[in-house]
C-alpha cells in the first residue's frame, strides 16, 4: 500500500527526495539546490519539481522561503505517522532503536483496538476478522501468510469503527513489515502465532474486551521476543 503513486513523474521525485531526507542523506538545516538546478538534475520541469516540493512540505520534511531557498526541517516537524515517511524509514534497514519504537506503538495501539473491537464490532466486521484468520490458516507460503496477517490486523482496527484508530494501520503495517523482513531467513515456522490470533478472534466474537486485549498483548510480546532473538542472531552473524 504505497501512498505516493510512483507512476507519475512528480511521484517519483517525491519518493526520491523524500527518501534522501528521511534516510539522512540530506540533513535538517541543509538547503536544497535552487529549484531550477534541482529540476534539471532530476530531469523534470520546474513545475513537476515544485508539485513534489509542495507535497514534501505538507509532510513537514522541508520548508521553502523566497530568497533563502528550500531547506530540510528539523525532524520534530516531520509527520512521522505519514505512510510515506514510515515506509521510507523502513526501506533502508532501520535502526534497532526505530524498530523498538514501532513495537512500542503496536503495544499501545493494538491491544486497545482489540478491546474496542470486542466491545463494538458489528457482525460484518467480525466476519472480516474471521475471514482474515481463515486466510492465515490456509496460507501456504510466507507471502500469503504476510498478506493474511496484515489483513487480520487491519480487520481488527476496522472493527473499532474509529477512523482515527484505523489510520494508525500504517504504523502497524510498518511494524509487521519489518518483522516479516527480519523473519524471512528463518521461514517455515510462520504459523506459530496462529493460536494467538485465534484467541483474539474468539474474544472479539464473544465480545470480551479484556480477553481480547490480553490476547493481543500476548501476541505482540511473543512477536517482540521473536524479533529480539532474530536480531541477536543477525547481529552476532554480522560481528
Amino acid at each position: 500500500m504505497k501512498a505516493t503513486d510512483s507512476r507519475n513523474l512528480h511521484g517519483h521525485v517525491i519518493r526520491e527526495l523524500g527518501k534522501r531526507i528521511v534516510v539522512g542523506d540530506l540533513r535538517p538545516g541543509d538547503v536544497l539546490p535552487r529549484e531550477e538546478d534541482l529540476a534539471e538534475s532530476m530531469d523534470v520541469s520546474r513545475t513537476a519539481l515544485r508539485e513534489a516540493l509542495k507535497v514534501l512540505s505538507a509532510k513537514g520534511l522541508i520548508e521553502s522561503r523566497p530568497r533563502v531557498g528550500t531547506r530540510v526541517r528539523a525532524t520534530h516537524f516531520w509527520n512521522q505517522l505519514d505512510a510515506d515517511v514510515l515506509s521510507w524509514r523502513c526501506a533502508s534497514m532501520p535502526t534497532d532503536d526505530f524498530i523498538e519504537k514501532l513495537v512500542e506503538m503496536r503495544e499501545i495501539i493494538e491491544p486497545a483496538a482489540a478491546a474496542a473491537a470486542a466491545r463494538r464490532r458489528t457482525a460484518t466486521q467480525l466476519a472480516q476478522v474471521d475471514l482474515a484468520y481463515r486466510k492465515m490458516e490456509a496460507a501456504r507460503d510466507t507471502e500469503e501468510w504476510a498478506a493474511a496477517d496484515l489483513s487480520f490486523h487491519d480487520a481488527v482496527l476496522q472493527a473499532t469503527g474509529n477512523e482515527l484508530m484505523i489510520s494508525l494501520f500504517s504504523v502497524v503495517e510498518s511494524a509487521l513489515g519489518m518483522f516479516f523482513v527480519l523473519s524471512a531467513k528463518t521461514a517455515g515456522d510462520f504459523s506459530y502465532s496462529l493460536p494467538q490470533h485465534l484467541k483474539v478472534l474468539e474474544a472479539i466474537r464473544r465480545q470480551q474486551p479484556e480477553v481480547a486485549r490480553k490476547a493481543m498483548q500476548g501476541m505482540i510480546a511473543d512477536s517482540l521476543a521473536n524479533l529480539r532473538k532474530k536480531r541477536k542472531g543477525r547481529t552476532k552473524k554480522a560481528s
Copy 2:
C-alpha cells in the same frame, strides 16, 4: 499550530478545498470541475491550483486521473491523523460522535504516553513537564490556561522520546481544542484539573509508570464526564 501556511496562495486553496471536502460540502465520489474552470473560479492560476491538488492528493482526500477528472476519495482513504484534516474537521463544530472518537484516542494514547514518560524521561524532559505545569498554575485567564495545558500534554508526549508518539500530538491537540471550545461558556473553573496534572507530573518525576498511567486515565475520565455534562446542557438548550 496550523500545518498549511495560509500566507501562500496555494495554501489558501488547500484550506478552501480541504475544508469543503472534510466538512462534507463535497462528497466522496463527486468530481471536481476541470482544473481550468476550478482555477478560474478560485481566482488562481492552474499552476497554483495543481500544487494544492497535489497536497490534497497526498492527504488522501482526492484522486486525479486523466480524462476522468479529479474526484473526492472515500473517507477510508483519508489521512485522518493529518493535522490539517483534523483541524478542518474540528473547525465546523464536529458531531458528538467524532468527539467521542477523539476522546477514545486520548484514552489510549495519553495514559500509555504518561507511563512511557515516567519510565524513560530525561531530566530536561521532566523539566519541560514541570515548567508547563507551573505555567498552568500561573494562568490568569482561559487563553493562558489553554496554552499551558496544551504544552503540558505536549511535554508528556515529548518525554516518551518516541517520535511516533509525539506525532500523535495533533490528535490530543484537537481533542483539547474541542474541550476548550465547549467549556468556553462556563469559564472560571478552568483550574479544577490542576491536581490531576500534578499527580501526573509527580509520577513522572518519581518514575512510577503505573501511577502516571492511572493519574492520566483519571484526568481524561474527568474531562470526559465534564464534556458530557456540558454537552447535555448545550443539547438541552438547543432543543
